[in-house]
Amino acid sequence: MTILRTIIVDDEPLALRLLAAKLGKLPNIEIVAQCSNGREAIAAIIELTPDLLFLDIQMPGLTGLDVVKQLQSDTMPLVVFATAYEQYALEAFDAHAVDYVLKPIDDERIQRAVARAQERFSIRLDDKIENKNEVISAIAQIEQQHEKTITWMATDSIHQDPQHTDIKNRKIVIKDRDEIHLLKQKDIQWIDAAGDYVCVHALGETHVKRCTLKEMLIELDDTQFKRVHRSTIVNLEFIDKVIPHTKGEFFLMIGEHDKIKVSRNYKDVVKTFLAN
């Protein structure tokens, strides 16, 4: 039996204590941090790289769904959502095999969620990308249900003739609920892929776009955007700090809040960047 290093997140102090008490009784759970909002959760997850996350949905600032969107897919823990009455989300969670516990939480459901997490953990081990895949698919479905516009596909572009538009100035089309954003490449800080979707992190927000990382790379200026992990691309412009980590890995500080892991396989990208 593997011990799952677990972070629990809920903005209500009593709900957090209940979760801690219930999980604390299980032999295969070690609670490594307790957080009371999404911002704290993201910092703790990057710092402690837990295996499992129990995440409340309704929270001030960043919601539980925002937390998942903002986390780098290459370092994403397993997620179990805790929900009081977010019915609109449950259908999407069921459809994409995302686990959740209902409040008031009960022992049986918690034990089942932990057993499932244990099982997934032993199959996936280092392949954390799968963790974000399933949750992002569910989030995309939730956001899609409230979309008023027609679906835009990955290949959609807004009359951008590649012959006449310099690749640097080409914009990225993002469709969010009832709005369509045109993101300038220079505003995009980093991008990570999760299954059929990519998460585009720009100007303090995370946009979910239906397309592959490969398709994304074709649209991006390759002198500016570099792959630093299997599923993560960063805009070199935004690297504020490079922090060496163990086993030849690095962390990149992107702006004030985002900390991106660079895998050993891509460390040359960082070395070249530092040399210039």
Binding site: D11, L14, A15, R39, P60, G61, T63, E86, K103
Partner: protein, 223 residues
């Protein structure tokens, strides 16, 4: 012969339709009062108090919840109660929320002596306070303050309720059903039934963040 039968049938259908509309309206109100998100979270908090062996607090919260539910169910929205009683019921609800949110919820209520006895439709203020909980206190990492002021001015009852808003005023609401609308619409409908157009209710965004609701209505006392 056939014509008369037809008319009776039409009459019957009409009656059923009317009953259905009335039942729908009542269900909507009931559903609004028994906010499932609030109920599930409150029961979860009570569970937590039991788990950590705070049995007295768990009991207090159970009793507050029962009293609040009883008040919501027993009081017909068309009956009038004193502002003192209305605020008493609000406090049942707010005591529960204080236990859930701990020091994130602060209250600053001030009601003039004269206004205490003023009659208001039962559950008039509940939706406004719930909105503040939902869109301000629970959406702010640091919590916030709900301020209530009530007084009599030129023979009118004036009530003002404001909150300090969310921590990220531009963040998209997670709940896509616009319940702010439902709550206030409900209040307006009830005020129109009771006072015709002799009332005023406005809600506005405050420059410093948060919302403020202003009500101006007839000052009535019980006989």
């Amino acid at each position: 012969m056939l014509g008369a039968e037809d008319a009776t049938r039409k009459e019957h259908i009409k009656r059923i339709e009317a009953q259905s509309v009335a039942r729908d309206a009542k269900l909507k109100m009931l559903r609004y009062q028994l906010n499932p998100h609030f109920l599930c979270n409150t029961l979860n908090a009570i569970n937590s108090l039991i788990e950590i062996q705070e049995s007295e607090k768990a009991q207090a919260m159970t009793v507050q919840l029962s009293q609040f539910l009883r008040h919501s169910l027993d009081n017909d929205p068309d009956t009038k109660i004193t502002l003192r009683d209305e605020i008493g019921a609000l406090n049942l609800y707010l005591e529960i929320e204080k236990t859930r949110f701990a020091d994130r919820l602060k209250l600053d209520f001030l009601v003039d002596e004269q206004a205490q006895e003023a009659l208001v439709p039962s559950l008039l203020l509940q939706p406004i306070i719930e909105n503040s909980m939902k869109h301000a206190i629970s959406k702010n990492e640091k919590g916030g303050i709900i301020v209530l002021r009530a007084g009599i001015n030129q023979g009118r009852l004036i009530i003002e309720i404001s909150d300090t808003g969310a921590s990220h005023p531009h963040s998209k609401p997670l709940d896509f059903r616009n319940e702010t609308g439902v709550g206030l619409e409900n209040i307006e409908q009830r005020l129109t039934v009771l006072y015709d157009d002799d009332y005023q209710i406005n809600t506005m965004r405050r420059a410093e963040g948060g919302r403020s609701t202003y009500i101006n209505m007839p000052f009535e006392l019980s006989d």
